[in-house]
Symmetry: C2
Subunit: 224 residues, 2 copies
DNA sequence: CAGAAAGTCAACATTGTGTTCTATATCATT
DNA sequence: AATGATATAGAACACAATGTTGACTTTCTG
C-alpha cells in the first residue's frame, strides 16, 4: 500500500512522527509554529530546485539541508527520508484537490465537470512548479497512481451513469475501467504539456480542452 | 538530457562503460559472451523481483547481487548503479519498440496504425513483467517521458496530416500537441491497466480499444 | 590447448545515514 | 518585557552501502 523501509528498526519512529504531527486535523488547522513553517518551506524550495536537475534518488538529505542552509538533524524531525518528504508534499496537494472536487459535488454524487475543471486548472497553475516536477522525467509515478485512485472513486459512478444514459450497452465494467485509465492518464499528459509550457494557455482554455477530451473518451464506449 | 551523477569523478568511468559496450550496434549484434548474458540476465531477474515489493530507491547493489548470487563487484562492470541498470534495460525495450514501429512505416512516413498496435501489444505482453513494474507506483517517470519522445517524432506528422484531412481548421500546432500528449499518456494508462490485470484481454481486443481511443482523441481537434 | 575475458574474493577509504546529546535561538503567552 | 515551551544548531557516534583495487580462479573463444 504505502512505501516500505529498508532499515528495520525505524518504522516505529516514523509512526510516532505521523501521530504526533499532521495526522490530526485539528492540529493541522492550528497553524504550526512559524519556525516549523519556515523550515518546511525552505526544505520544499530546496527539493523543488534540486528536482529540476537531478532524479530524486540522487538527492541526499545532506545536500538538501545544505542547500536549505539548515542542520541535517532538523530534516529528520519531519521526514524519514527524501522520498517520504516528497510523499508528504503530495499529501498536501491531494488534500486541496479533494476540497476542490468536493466543492462541486452534488448530493447525488454527480459532478459539474466543467466548472470543477476550471477550479482544478487554477489550482494547478498555482502549484505549477511542483506539478512540473512531479510530472517531469524526474517525477514520481506514485503521484500519478494516487491521482488515479483519488479520481476513480469520485468520478467512476458519475461518468458511468452518464455514459450508460447515452446508450444502453452490455459492455462490461472492465472495459469502462480501461476508458477511465486512458482518460486519467491522458489528463496527466495534458497537464504535463501545459505546465512544461509555463501554463501559457489560460485556465479556461485548458478546462474546455480537458472537458472535451474527457467526454470524448468516456462516450467512446457507448459509440463503439 | 540523460541522468546526472552525484559523485564527481565517476562519470568518466561510466562513459567508458557506455563506449566499450552497448553503444555500438555491431558489438550489440555480435552476441555477448555467454557469461555476460548470464550475469545480466540474473541481475535483471533479481531487479524485476525486487521491484515488485519495493521502490527502486530502496534497492541496494548489495542485496541485488546477493539475490542474484554473484559478487558485488561484478555489478559495477556493467552498471553505474541500480538506476543506471534500469535505464539500460529500458534502452533495450525502446530499441525493440523502434523496430516494431519501423516495420509498419510506409515510405511517406505514414503508419498503418491498427496492425502496428497489434504488434505493439504483443510486444507488451511478452514484456509484461517489466512493463508492469515500469508503470507501477514504484515505476519510472523517465520511461513515460522517453516513450513520449520516441512516439512523438514517429506519429506527429502522420496524425497531423490525417486530422487536417478530415476538416481544415486554423487551430495552432500547440493545440495539436496537447491532443498528442493526452493520447500518449492515455495509452500508457491503458497499458498500465492492462498489464496490472495480467493481460487478461487479448492483444487484438486491446489494439482495437487503443485504436478507437487514439482516433477519437486525435480527431477531436477537427470536431470541436 | 593457450590466451583472453569474466567472475570471485577480500580489503579499503569514503560517504551518507540515523540517532543522540547539550546549548542556543525563537516562539506564543501573559 | 519576562516566562516556559519548543525548534533548531552543532557536534559526535556507530553503522551500512558505496565504489574501487589487486590477486586469484573459472570460463569462453579460436
Amino acid at each position: 500500500m504505502t512505501r516500505y523501509s529498508t532499515k528495520k528498526g525505524k518504522l516505529l519512529k516514523r509512526k510516532n512522527i505521523q501521530k504526533d504531527r499532521g495526522m490530526d486535523m485539528n492540529e493541522q488547522e492550528k497553524k504550526e509554529d512559524r519556525r516549523v513553517r519556515r523550515t518546511k518551506k525552505l526544505l520544499t524550495q530546496a527539493l523543488t530546485q534540486l528536482l529540476q536537475t537531478k532524479q530524486i534518488n540522487e538527492i541526499t538529505v545532506k545536500e538538501l539541508t545544505e542547500l536549505a542552509d539548515m542542520n541535517r538533524g532538523t530534516f529528520y524531525l519531519y521526514y524519514k527520508d527524501v522520498f517520504d518528504m516528497l510523499e508528504k508534499i503530495e499529501d498536501g496537494m491531494f488534500e486541496r484537490l479533494d476540497q476542490i472536487i468536493s466543492a462541486h459535488e452534488n448530493e447525488d454524487m454527480s459532478v459539474q465537470t466543467r466548472p470543477m475543471l476550471e477550479d482544478l486548472f487554477v489550482f494547478i497553475e498555482e502549484n505549477q512548479e511542483m506539478c512540473r516536477v512531479l510530472l517531469s522525467p524526474h517525477g514520481d509515478m506514485n503521484f500519478l497512481h494516487r491521482l488515479n485512485e483519488v479520481l476513480r472513486d469520485k468520478f467512476l459512478k458519475a461518468w458511468h451513469n452518464q455514459a450508460f444514459h447515452q446508450k444502453e450497452t452490455g459492455k462490461a465494467e472492465t472495459e469502462f475501467d480501461y476508458h477511465y485509465s486512458f482518460v486519467v492518464f491522458g489528463c496527466a499528459g495534458l497537464i504535463r504539456a501545459w505546465v512544461s509550457r509555463a501554463c501559457r494557455e489560460s485556465t479556461k482554455e485548458m478546462a474546455q480542452l480537458a472537458d472535451t477530451m474527457i467526454r470524448c473518451g468516456v462516450l467512446t464506449q457507448a459509440s463503439v
